[in-house]
């Protein structure tokens, strides 16, 4: 079973509306699942902060006095802490602006927490972007190096049916391997991925799985083959996620 239904249940649970089998199922799942615990925590936090977006409303002073008496009678009281408590009570009761003050403090605290979370998120995003840029630069540099080599060939791949707007190009040297550049390729269907094959001596060899970016483009490094047979043909097929040892799906790009 996919995890997604549980995330929906977490939201419904957070607003207290889960019932029936869903409730039993979710409560059995929750203790074992960090994702759902986090989803629930975030939902409850959002609901709490929605309350923080409204002005406070002080309950009647009698409510506080009754609680004070009750807590004062509670087990485990020692005289000193009782005095401290009474003093604190007197001070707070005298502060007419107490509610507004604590209100501001709560909002301030929530805002600080939020800023810390945002900063962490920005840092993480920057680190991810940097890693992805480094990867891109390494790919580009490798491709440029390969193009300097007179033994490197450039092979154009043409669309074959399922994605007529797609185009591809491979730069390749039998000694150094190569790169595949793809454009105009739609995202692979759900549960599928694109697979690149190098074909030498009539035998296709798996040369990596790849997906395309939002613009339908991809760049893929191809390792040199160790068979000694020169590779002359390249093809891209649609295959199940995880890959297969030999091509099974429709060809989308091939030398032709």
């Amino acid at each position: 079973m996919s995890h997604e239904p549980f995330e929906t249940l977490a939201a419904v649970y957070a607003v207290g509306a889960l019932d029936g089998d869903d409730l039993a199922q979710f409560e059995a799942h929750l203790p074992t699942c960090a994702v759902c615990q986090a989803a629930l925590r975030e939902a409850q936090d959002a609901l709490a902060r929605a309350m923080l977006s409204t002005p406070p409303l002080a309950p009647p002073a009698e409510a506080r006095e009754a609680l004070v008496r009750r807590v004062g009678r509670a087990r485990g009281a020692d005289r000193r802490s009782w005095l401290t408590w009474a003093a604190a009570t007197a001070v707070v009761a005298a502060a007419a602006a107490g509610f507004t003050g604590t209100w501001v403090a709560v909002r301030y605290e929530a805002r600080l927490g939020q800023m810390a979370r945002e900063t962490a998120a920005v840092k993480e995003r920057l680190a991810r972007n940097e890693a992805s840029l480094r990867e891109q630069v390494a790919l580009d540099r490798g491709a440029v190096e390969l193009l300097r080599d007179p033994a490197t060939r450039v092979v154009d791949l043409r669309a074959q049916g399922p994605a007529p707007a797609a185009s591809g190009r491979v730069i390749w040297s039998d000694a150094g391997g190569g790169y595949l550049f793809v454009a105009g390729l739609p995202p692979a269907p759900a549960g599928k991925t694109y697979a690149l094959w190098t074909i030498g001596g009539g035998i296709p060899r798996a040369a990596g799985l790849f997906g395309v970016d939002s613009a339908g483009r991809a760049t893929q490094r191809i390792a040199p083959t160790s068979t000694g047979t020169p590779t002359r043909v390249f093809a891209v097929t649609v295959e199940p996620e995880g890959g297969v040892p030999a091509p099974t799906g429709p060809i989308v790009l091939a030398l032709k």
Partner: protein
Amino acid sequence: MPTPGGDLVRAMAGGDREAFARFYDRYAGLVFPLVLRIVRDRADAVEVLQDVFWEAWRGAAAYDEARGTAEAWILTRARTRAIDRLRAVRRRGETFVAPIDEASAAATTPPGGDAAARAEDRQLVASALTQLTEAQREVIELAYYAGLTQTEIAERLEQPLGTVKTRIRLALARLREVVTST
């Protein structure tokens, strides 16, 4: 720099009454409008509020900071207790509260009775929730404030259960966006 709410709860767990006083003064103004909005009767709301803070004092040791902020902790408890009260009142049949009709009636009722509470009501509706679509706000109102379960909401809105669940999920996602952007 104020003492973080979590520290107050930990101090309460150690029997610190002063921490409880500070905890109450910090959060009562937040808990009370929520409870009042749900139970709608001021005397009931005061009782629920006292129960909630009493239980917070008694149950402070069970608070786990990793599972949420102190305000989320106290508000989640408050909401649960308020809904319990609301359901008990409905079961006794003393008052039948029809949330949607009530909400629309409140909008047209001239100020009077508990004017402050009503104004508070409207302000709450006019806050973060206004950033939701009408359909999203409706499911949050029915679930969180009126205490209806997903099945009851589906019946009332004459919508498939799956639609109601998805709508709640989207509403919360939107609410999160709203509260994190202000």
